[in-house]
């Protein structure tokens, strides 16, 4: 492991040197973050020898013999791995036997993990306390390098502008939805799982601090962290049983697009966004988890019956606003030329009150700039139901009145 060496000029160290070092730190932190995002999204076959070696190492650390390994194609397949390996959740601490030797292996390993998180959490909390400030300007969160160049403390930038994208990518867009799907399908508790590649946000965060030279760890912490990192780099979820350890393969297909925060989010318009070899997985559009019909067969009926507004919007955009308006039989109230957008019209439609749960109208406008194929995209916006005409509706979306909006000079 190499810590970046602070810049000096002779034995002088200037503010400019410090600034340049900070810039190196933040760039390196972003590079390391992106490595871990890649691990979280990785769809290569598991590195079975590496995973088994790392798991055996953890068993040895809690003084348990190496388990027998059973590999399954996906986390959902753990249910079919045989009754003998079905895991129960580890008991609560106050229900555990007094002697550690009598604890289930899952409890010992979860305690091992918890201890590392606790130590790391404490170190990070102390560091944050010393900073005792927050990033109050939104731009500093969105442009980490610029924030450092303008003098924001690099540690603050890393914790608030670099690391969150990792958690949003791995934890929020993969781990949580997968756990949700498994929970709703499994019906019975599926036990204490470790998440392998889908814990990349946890080990990745520690690794970012460590490798960018912004936090010093004790050797014993580094040693344990290396083992959990090896797991995040080599396999999917795993269930530590006393005699048998069930380990899941990684998915065979993960499709994503760049997210606004610098991370990635799941997106696929043909087929699931996450798919394991046994077909298990889920669909997602622009980062929103959606039912399969949204991608394969969106219809006005299904859209009207869908409770989640985000999902409904995805389904409509999948159909196209024009097709949806026609198929749903929306009533056109009026049209008006779009100021600043030559030869384009604003159209205002009535929405049946059940469409979005509260009274609303639909404003359909045309993009000011061309798409790659030379067409202009039409898009719909919901507006309050008491806006009388398309101009007033378009003006409202920007907080203006009709007269002001009518003076729009140019739209791109």
């Amino acid at each position: 492991m190499t810590h970046p060496t602070p810049r000096t000029r002779g034995d002088q160290r200037t503010a400019a040197d410090a600034r340049l070092d900070a810039l190196d730190n933040v760039r390196q932190a972003i590079r390391i973050r992106d490595e871990w995002i890649e691990q979280g999204l990785c769809a290569l076959p598991a590195d079975r020898p590496a995973a088994e070696a790392a798991i055996s190492e953890l068993y040895a650390r809690v003084r348990r013999p190496t388990p027998r390994f059973v590999w399954v194609p996906s986390p959902a397949a753990v249910r079919d791995a045989g009754a003998s390996v079905r895991q129960m959740p580890p008991p609560r601490y106050d229900e555990l036997p007094r002697q550690r030797d009598d604890w289930p292996a899952a409890s010992l390993i979860s305690a091992l993990n918890a201890r590392l998180s606790l130590r790391m959490g404490e170190a990070l909390r102390l560091q944050h306390q010393r900073l005792s400030r927050f990033l109050s300007d939104p731009w500093r969160r969105e442009a980490p390098e610029q924030a450092v160049r303008q003098g924001t403390d690099v540690r603050l930038v890393v914790s608030e502008a670099v690391i969150p994208a990792l958690a949003r990518t791995v934890r929020d867009s993969l781990l949580f939805p997968l756990r949700d799907v498994l929970g709703s399908e499994a019906g019975d508790p599926f036990g204490y799982a470790c998440y392998g590649q889908h814990s990349a946000h946890q080990v990745g965060e520690y690794d970012i601090w460590r490798r960018s030279g912004l936090l010093r760890l004790r050797p014993e912490e580094v040693e344990q962290l290396e083992v959990w990192m090896a797991l995040a780099r080599s396999c999917g979820w795993w269930w530590p049983g006393d005699d048998v350890c069930v380990v899941s393969e990684r998915p065979v297909d993960v499709r994503s697009e760049p997210a606004p925060d610098g991370g990635r989010r799941l997106h696929s318009l043909d087929g699931p966004a996450v798919r394991y070899a046994d077909g298990w997985g889920f669909h997602a559009v622009n980062g929103t988890r959606v039912p399969e019909w949204v991608v394969t067969d969106p219809t006005p009926g299904r859209i009207a019956a869908e409770l989640n507004i985000e999902v409904r919007r995805c389904a409509i955009e999948r159909m196209g606003w024009d097709a949806y308006i026609e198929a749903a039989g929306l009533r056109l109230l009026s049209t008006a030329p779009d100021p600043g957008n030559p030869a384009s019209e604003l159209c205002l439609f009535d929405l049946p009150s059940h469409t979005w749960g509260s009274p609303a109208r639909l404003l359909v406008a045309v993009n000011g700039s061309l798409e790659r194929d030379g067409t202009r995209r039409r898009y719909g916006l919901t507006v309050p139901a008491d806006l009388p005409d398309p101009l007033a509706a378009a003006a409202w979306t920007y907080g203006l009145d009709s007269d002001q909006y009518a003076r729009l000079q140019r739209r791109t």
């Binding site: 731009w139 610029q146 798409e371 790659r372 898009y379 309050p384 920007y398 203006l400 140019r410």
Partner: protein
């Protein structure tokens, strides 16, 4: 002097999608302009609605620009670019509608750029940049609103 999109991409180092017209002059305007989900409004048109706070922290627009807002799908940013020492930007503003992202003060023409929407030329003066919202309900009563990302 009016600039083209290719001049601007060269000067700022920012990229735009290659199907946009690169060699057409970008008009520099002093009125209302829309760029996708953002609106550039002369500050005087919003007298009473948008105010710059007394303690506002202004920052000079750096050569690689100020990211005003990052878009949704694809994460395309709207970036304010200007010649050095010609433009200041602050986010310390109060807006009755809550839509203003900030206020820019330009001594020379400046540009707002976006990979899909190209560039908008802004004449010298003070402007607020507002984002777009959607909503349901009644304007007179309570409106459930969300921001638009294009």
């Amino acid at each position: 002097m009016t600039l083209t999109l290719s001049d601007l991409t060269r000067q700022s180092g920012l990229d735009v999608l290659d199907h946009l017209e690169m060699d057409v002059a970008i008009p520099v305007l002093d009125g209302l302009q829309a760029q996708g989900d953002l609106l550039i409004v002369p500050l005087e048109d919003l007298a009473g609605a948008v105010t710059v706070l007394e303690w506002a922290r202004w920052r000079p627009v750096p050569p690689d620009g100020v990211e005003v807002l990052r878009g949704g799908a694809g994460g395309n940013p709207h970036t304010l670019v200007a010649e050095p020492h010609t433009c200041r930007w602050t986010e310390d503003v109060r807006d009755r509608t809550g839509l203003a992202l900030g206020v820019l003060w330009a001594d020379q023409p400046v540009h707002l750029m976006h990979p899909e929407h190209g560039a908008s030329g802004i004449a010298s003066g003070a402007y607020a940049i507002r984002r777009q919202r959607e909503g349901r309900g009644m304007t007179s009563g309570s409106v459930q609103r969300t921001y638009v990302y294009d």
